[in-house]
Amino acid sequence: MLINPSEILETVRMVKMEHLDIRTVTMGLSLRDCADKDIRAFNEKVYDKIVSRAKDLVRVAGEIQSLYGIPIVNKRVAVTPIAVVAESCDAPDLVSTAKALDAAAKAVGVDFIGGFSALVHKGATPGDIRLIESIPEALASTDKVCSSVNVATTKAGINMDAVALMGEIIKRTAHLTASRDGIGCAKLVVFANAPEDNPFMAGAFHGIGESECVINVGVSGPGVVNSAIRELKDPDFTQIAETIKKTAFKITRMGEMIGREVSRRLGVEFGILDLSLAPTPEVGDSVAAILEAMGLERCGAHGTTAALALLNDAVKKGGAMASSSVGGLSGAFIPVSEDAGMIAAVEAGALRLEKLEAMTSVCSVGLDMIAVPGDTPASKLSAIIADEMAIGVVNKKTTAVRIIPAPGKGVGDSVEFGGLLGRAPVMAVSGFGSEVFIARGGRVPAPIQSLTN
């Protein structure tokens, strides 16, 4: 017998019923050869390079999708952090470069383009500051551009000047996109220990240690893990971990196969496979649902952090076994707006910001896609960022903050972005201030864990 029906039907079910998909095929592209003092010439080079290298990405991804019958939801491009390549540009701001990126993304038909980014974890150059100051207008005047700023690493500590500035930048971005519920903030991430090969938005950029052009693939599949756990009859935690591992293994293998075939057809090096459980607003395709499948009444109940730690670890173990190219973030995402279970947990009063923060210490990424009241002061946003950066720096892991101070809205309201970005209920922040703390500036020194040499 050449066919094993149970294997085939399992795969078919994963795709059809459990929303298994390739979340993204992301082309990482170096723009280091585009530097030019004249910003117009620079923008032209950037546009031309992206269009020439990524012109076939969407078509090839479509071919692979129908060949294997696995949906590839997003096609994306990530470029070298623009602050680096635009450093020598003779221009007061870099909004025109964001527009060039947007135009290139539209020309090749990708869903997002990431890399309007700066790496300022230890300090900022004038070019870095110029990029960061350009972010609000850049995100307000483009559709597909995503921006990220790395403000901390375990090796460098936390650049608190940058943390303070990012609170202001997030406020301005929300203000400039107020008519669309502050959607600009949904495309802006503040990082600690940002990975250089992450295919997921909004934080994707093509790191300076990367080669000229690579294909990175982000796989998803919370729905598959959720179903696998729910099928177990009264399992203990060892059995749950084992099931997650096996499921993660299968998902990873699928992603690697697709990534390698896309790379081969495009004649581009295969980079990494990011096995992240990235939820979608679809019912069941939810990380919160997985945690609840382990026996929690609601995501956010006591025990949630432990459940998430088990999940994240088992996902990594299964993924690492399945592929030698696992990279990026690879773990579980807990974005509120993109996960129906998280939204329900917030609305039921089960999940608050403080619990989410604790959860970020044991999973990939961090406070993701959370809406807070529109009148939250910049210093409070910065303080939220500082807390999250501290978790990342001390635990030698990536953490991030993608937060939306929802313009004109308060607790009880929600913001609606549609599509994969979903809907975020506005969450309460602490009523106590952090203004003096954030105004101090300087750098939180690197922790003792960084002294490994």
Binding site: I3, E7, I8, T11, S66, G69, M254, M257
Partner: protein, 92 residues
């Protein structure tokens, strides 16, 4: 992707003529059935076929469209996927 073999899955209510209709489309595209398996899964009829497509001049998109058309007439769901999608996931 080394082979030109595909897995065809047919899922839906059992009725006469499913195999005949599906096989006709395959003949039209010069696609050879290598192995076939039928089961009833939770009262739903499922047929799985391993098929070999010709090495030269095979148009996957047209074949998939042909199968879609047949599926619509039969009131079932048909998927055509390269065999690697299953090999990679379940076998090392």
């Amino acid at each position: 992707m080394n082979s030109n073999r595909f897995i065809v899955t047919v899922i839906g209510c059992d009725r006469t003529g499913i195999v005949a209709k599906i096989a006709t489309v395959m003949t039209d595209f010069n696609v050879n059935i290598v192995d076939i398996s039928q089961t009833i899964m939770q009262t739903i009829f499922t047929m799985i076929m391993l098929v070999q497509a010709p090495k030269e001049g095979f148009d996957l998109a047209a074949f998939q469209a042909g199968m879609e058309g047949a599926a619509k007439e039969l009131g079932v769901e048909v998927k055509v996927q390269h065999e690697d999608a299953f090999q990679y996931m379940h076998r090392i």
